[in-house]
């Protein structure tokens, strides 16, 4: 009887598997007590349902926060992101300012370099010009001048003194008549500042 009672309990809950229902209905048909029990359990189910349905429920006195504001989860991040934006803006402004200042410094250095380079080129030209002129003047005033020839030994001019035990492979002798030149004391500053010839 306990077995059929358990099956009745499962049946009224709608949990009796289909394959067991054939045997269940057969047992019911043969057992009047089982049928009475099924009626009682069915009535119990209806009674319990009616008991809870018929309850007098008055929940008007409850204080439930029904009008809860929708949680704006982004609100709490707003202030953080605003502060971060301001910091980034200030940092960017500072960095850009420094960058532009650095750029202008670079430009100044470049200009300085170009100016110095141009000056140096000028000095080189002046030096070369002076050398050329000097050589020309030397040739004009001294026919006895012996040009320098690389890797050749000179035969000494009679009467001329040569260096004893000289290791030089060539000799250049310039015999200048300096009186042909204007007596101008040339210093380092003159060389760099003003032209020498024609002054």
């Amino acid at each position: 009887m306990k077995e059929i009672e358990l099956q009745i309990s499962r049946f009224i809950d709608g949990e009796l598997p289909f394959e067991e229902q054939g045997e269940f209905f057969k047992a019911l048909s043969l057992n009047e007590d089982a049928r009475n029990m099924l009626n009682e359990y069915s009535e119990l189910k209806r009674g319990i349902k009616g008991h809870y349905t018929g309850l007098d429920i008055d929940l008007s006195s409850l204080k439930v926060p029904l009008n809860k504001e929708p949680e704006n989860k982004y609100k709490k991040y707003f202030y953080f992101s605003a502060a971060a934006s301001i910091i980034i803006l200030i940092a960017s402004s500072f960095l850009f300012t420094r960058f532009f200042a650095f750029q202008s410094e670079i430009e100044q250095v470049k200009e300085g370099y170009i100016r110095v380079n141009n000056e140096l080129e000028g000095y080189k030209k002046e030096r070369d010009t002076f050398k050329t002129v000097l050589a020309q003047e030397a040739r004009i005033t001294s026919p006895q001048m012996v040009p320098a020839v690389k890797n050749k030994t000179f035969k000494p001019i009679p009467g001329e003194k040569t260096a004893i035990n000289s290791q030089r492979k060539y000799t250049s002798r310039i015999d200048l008549n300096l009186d042909a030149f204007t007596t101008v004391k040339i210093t380092k500053d003159d060389f760099l500042v003003q032209p020498i010839i024609g002054n």
Binding site: R10, D13, I48, T53, P65, L66, E71
Partner: protein
């Protein structure tokens, strides 16, 4: 509207808090009453359940229906109340109560009186099965038991209730 599935896999709508209250407050009250057996405590339970729901709304992942989630919150709340009252009053235990000696067994016991004699655990099973029409599987998930356990306990509860009503 967000779509979600309940334990049985049926897709249900997602209700706002006022809609939830309107729809399920009475069921929560009945369930609480089946466990706590006191109308005032059951009303308090409804209030607490919806407050807890409001506080933990974001943790709802949609693994079950909103109603089932409310039922679980209600169950946890009510059993906490029961445990605290049990620790104070050792008279109760988890088994089905005996019929009190002072009760007149010659007179018919009403269903209401008979239900009050059952323990909260057994009342809960009857409420979920008979009134809410949950399946064994759903009841097992709500109560944290196995399906077999739910089946046997429900059967025993009905047996005892029938005996009480028949004045055995």
């Amino acid at each position: 509207m967000m779509i979600e599935k309940n334990i049985a896999g049926i897709i249900e709508k997602n209700y706002s808090l006022p809609d939830l209250f309107e729809k399920y407050a009475s069921d929560i009250y009945r369930y609480s009453l089946s466990l706590l057996k006191d109308t005032d405590e059951a009303k308090d339970a409804v209030q607490e359940v919806f407050v807890k729901y409001t506080e933990n709304e974001n943790s709802f992942k949609g693994a079950c229906s909103q109603k089932t989630w409310l039922i679980v919150i209600t169950r946890n709340y009510c059993f906490n109340i029961i445990k605290s009252s049990r620790s104070k009053n050792k008279r109760f235990d988890e088994e089905i109560l005996e019929i009190p000696a002072e009760m007149d067994l010659d007179s018919k016991v009403t269903l209401n009186e008979a239900l009050k004699l059952l323990s909260p655990e057994h009342n809960e099973l009857l409420y979920l099965a008979e009134f809410e029409n949950y399946t064994y599987k759903e009841i097992a998930e709500i109560t944290g038991q196995t399906v077999e356990n739910v089946k046997i306990k429900l059967f025993r509860t009905r047996q005892h209730l029938r005996k009480i009503l028949k004045n055995y």
